[in-house]
């Protein structure tokens, strides 16, 4: 009965994760392919791009309709960096859901997956988020005359929250690895 519930929950989780994966793919492609459309602007605002634009440009629509290829490239790189940890995280969770579906719940593989997830989000908070900020500012200011181009990145409370949850994930993964080893020893205790 519990196994059936787990299988059903895993299938639902996999479906949601696949939808998220497709949504993320579209989130990167659509805004930079059609930056002036309503959907494009909306998807850019989700990626926090509007904050950078508000800082550097009075008229965002003007800027977006005259977007140069190099700025667009910086924007695409920034978007890819923004969604990359999520894509990797989804891929890991798809594997975990697959394991759950096959009845492998408290296994070393799953424990390591959770730990890896934590490490990825730690890297995201410490490195990738500032890096995507840099590319977004480059995208927003690269068309400016020399001397008015900017490279900027920030470290906010959001980063701190991400670091906090990443550390928790690493800890959970670590505890699961230790628990798995204890369970294995218990199995071989006669």
């Amino acid at each position: 009965m519990n196994n059936q519930k787990l299988i059903s929950a895993s299938k639902t989780m996999q479906l949601v994760l696949w939808v998220m994966l497709v949504a993320l793919f579209l989130m990167v492609i659509i805004p930079w392919a059609f930056p002036t459309t309503g959907l494009g602007k909306f998807l850019l605002s989700i990626q926090n791009f509007n904050n950078f634009m508000d800082t550097y440009h009075k008229n965002i629509d003007d800027f977006m309709s005259n977007l140069r290829p190099i700025s667009r490239l910086f924007g695409i790189i920034a978007s890819i960096i923004t969604v990359l940890p999520l894509v990797i995280g989804i891929k890991i969770m798809l594997n975990v859901a697959d394991n759950y579906k096959n009845g492998q719940v408290f296994t070393l593989n799953n424990a390591k997956s959770y730990r890896l997830l934590g490490v990825i989000y730690l890297i995201e908070a410490l490195l990738l988020k500032p890096l995507s900020d840099i590319f977004f500012t480059l995208c927003a200011t690269f068309n400016n005359p020399v001397g008015q181009r900017t490279i900027a990145f920030g470290f906010t409370l959001g980063n701190m929250t991400a670091i906090f949850f990443a550390i928790i994930l690493i800890m959970i993964g670590h505890v699961m690895v230790v628990g798995q080893k204890m369970n294995e020893e218990q199995q071989f205790t006669v």
């Binding site: 294995e184 020893e185 071989f188 205790t189 006669v190």
Partner: protein
């Protein structure tokens, strides 16, 4: 591992089968097989006590230390 389990030797000496010992000791033959094949990571004193009682031997007759090479 440096601790060698000599259960098979004692079983041969007592002319007893693994299944019979398992039945007397009250553990599954599969678990006893883990012990016999040296795959066990730990042995409960309770189990050792029961095995010694059935085979009428000392723990030293079942366990032997061999330094790692």
């Amino acid at each position: 591992m440096s601790i060698i389990i000599e259960l098979d030797v004692m079983l041969a000496r007592r002319k007893m089968k693994l299944q019979d010992l398992a039945q007397h000791v009250g553990i599954t033959p599969a678990n006893l097989s883990i012990l016999k094949n040296g795959k066990a990571k730990a042995i409960r004193l309770e189990t050792l006590n029961a095995i010694c009682a059935v085979l009428e031997c000392q723990p030293g007759d079942l366990l032997r230390f061999e330094p790692d090479k």
